[in-house]
Subunit: 248 residues, 2 copies
DNA sequence: TCAAATATGTGCGATAATCGCACGCTACTA
DNA sequence: TAGTAGCGTGCGATTATCGCACATATTTGA
């Protein structure tokens, strides 16, 4: 399969790098060969290349990322002015909301956090941070992202992506999800409760795309803190004003 | 130049990716060819590969990163338990300090921020965020990192790295820098003022290496807020207790 | 307005890098 | 002691890659 416009070896190497995406920590070369489907010898060469370029660190037979990859991620963050413009805005509105606000974009069939508010008080529920990923189907962020997609992308994702049950409340019905996404599109926000994590609820509103990728602003909180309509109204009001501000 | 243990094409591709590290935003293919020293046609193929793998986005003739790279960086952060363990600790001590605390590691001849405290009040001076890089020579973080190196690495860096003047106060004398680094090693902290940015001062203390890379905990503040000895003592006390806590 | 400079697109043949198998080795464990 | 899992490596065939050379579009500037 010869393609004159892309470098096959490089693409395979990127697949190796992608093995270390969120979640997986230490991997052996054999793990990587299995995950990528590459020949073990090929995987080995690519791993050694990553090591000698400074992206991987060997600890016995285990491989793990070095912080060097963060420098590239930092390039994205500064290029998009996340630190300089977006972060302060998130902080300000998060304070007003007395909760946390995050910015997420769609990458294929998942969402990626690209910024989150710094709240002093917050005992961060989980280790979600910049670069963490979320599934699209059972989250407010994901559904708002899907609502902001082109219909073509949306259909493609709904038809091909993985359906995972996270809690007893996770909606596993395709038609129902589709309706909820359409509702989000018409209402201008999405609200999901208990479908990703029991006891947690999320609200998301759209903002203008960043570098071509759909983007949303979202908050999450314990399920009951969003139960009353007036609380919900307040959250939506703050999110929408923050979204307004972020429109350049 | 045939090397049986590394994939040349992949290494070149990684060089292309590294062009987008902190600072540079949009690049043309010709820019990349120049920066990497690759043939233009080769650079083009590698860029197209990055694009089709979803790491680059084309905007006319400009190329920029997509957030996908953040997912890999997120892999590093979660693997090192940054979000779950380190971040809350930073936040807590930053509050006590009423300032900001950052964690940085050495990557070659530069420092990379891998975490920073989230304090709502903090009017973040500049867009420094996770993944931002710093030079080693004129910063407290950098000198403490050099003090924590093996002598071999330290000499190698001091002899080969770039010497840049950032302010009128930047120390450009090799022997003097070397003395300051040795002092930092014996005192167990480094303190630098005005050498990187006029009006700014930094303090750094060492902590145990993370995945083999030297690591420091640091704070920065306006120059005069660290002038009084008792203020300095307080800062050092907080940083050291935070460092103690971070030792697993 | 024309020329120079800069950028991207692409065809192709020679070369050299990559591939993947196959074999040998170590370490752990049941 | 056999079985499993992982790493290292040599080598020949294949084929992906390289880089030149030419063509075209766009911007700059005199």
């Amino acid at each position: 399969m010869t393609n004159r416009d892309t470098a096959l070896t490089f693409a395979k190497g990127l697949d190796v790098l992608a093995c270390f995406e969120t979640g997986r920590g230490d991997l052996t070369m054999a793990d990587i060969a299995r995950l990528t489907g590459l020949d073990r010898a090929t995987a080995r060469r690519l791993c050694l290349t990553l090591e000698s370029s400074g992206y991987l660190y060997r600890h016995g037979k285990m491989l793990r990322l070095t912080p060097k990859i963060l420098a590239v991620g930092g390039g994205y963050l500064t290029a998009q002015h996340i630190g300089r413009l977006i972060q302060p805005t998130l902080n300000q509105f998060a304070e007003e909301l007395n909760g946390e606000i995050a910015l997420a974009v769609r990458d294929g069939a998942r969402a990626i956090y690209i910024a989150r508010s710094a709240v002093a008080s917050a005992r961060l529920s989980l280790g979600f941070s910049v670069g963490s990923t979320l599934p699209l189907l059972p989250t407010a962020i994901g559904r708002m992202l899907l609502a902001s997609c082109t219909p073509k992308d949306r259909d493609q994702i709904l038809n091909t992506c993985e359906w995972t049950r996270f809690t007893a409340a996770t909606d596993m019905d395709r038609a129902s999800i589709r309706t909820k996404i359409e509702d989000a599109a018409t209402q201008g926000f999405s609200y999901v409760i208990n479908e990703f994590e029991m006891g947690a609820a999320g609200v998301a509103v759209p903002i203008a795309p960043i570098s071509g990728a759909e983007t949303v602003l979202a908050t999450s909180a314990s399920a009951n803190s969003l139960a009353r309509p007036d609380q919900m109204d307040h959250v939506l009001d703050v999110l929408r004003r923050a979204a307004m501000r972020l429109r350049d």
